[in-house]
Amino acid sequence: MIKKRFNPITDKSSEIIAFLMASPDMPNDPDLRFKIELSVEEAVENVVHYAYEDGIGWLEAGTSLDNESLVLTIELRDAGVPFNPLEKADPDVNLSADQREVGGLGIYLCKKMMDSIEYRYEDGNNVLIMRKIVKN
């Protein structure tokens, strides 16, 4: 896995996203890259803004690519407040504009754009793993 630890992460979203998107594991196909970048942004933003109560802490970001199955794995790890983003209920996308609440779409977009997303709490860390088949 190609990975890097960012510490502190306050205001570092762009740098973390750029690091992940520059990984040689990432596909070149623009449609795939769009979906992956969106998911990466939403997941990274979640950690940067909500993981640490005082806003100061680390995030380890990594990628790996299985050359046989062409499954790209993106892993985010932090030592912040235990939080499983997958437990949050999906927004009701059938409501009218009046009824829709502003926000709450980030993790939902990750779920829809990636092929799988899993969370575990391990050794005091939040671990979020997102996978995408990058066959063009």
Binding site: E42, V93, A97, L109
Partner: protein
């Protein structure tokens, strides 16, 4: 995101160019604030040059749509990039915002 607003009588023409993400969504919201003043005009947004939006951008588009409806105006978005359109489709925003 570059925002150009051109008010012509009852019609307001807007062009969006570039990307809206977590780094510039706040600025984007400020840039389109004139569209939320509530003069009830018809807003026509050309999205030809808009290449990306994250949930932070969607948030601003929803605020704008709510404002337009509250002021009995109308809003359409045109020429949306297929990838951006998919984001609007997945989140149900295609049902609440008119996309031509």
């Amino acid at each position: 995101m570059k925002v150009t607003i051109n008010k012509q009588n009852e019609k307001t023409l807007v062009t969006l160019e570039g990307r809206v993400d977590s780094t510039n969504a706040e600025q984007f919201q400020q840039d389109i604030a004139p569209l939320m003043e509530g003069d009830g005009s018809d807003i026509d947004i050309d999205c030809t040059g808009m290449t990306y939006t994250s949930s932070q951008g969607l948030r601003v588009f929803l605020l704008l749509q709510k404002s337009v409806m509250a002021h009995q105006g109308t809003m359409v978005m045109r020429n949306m990039d297929s990838r951006v359109k998919e984001v609007f489709d997945i989140t149900g925003f295609s049902n609440i915002i008119t996309i031509l």
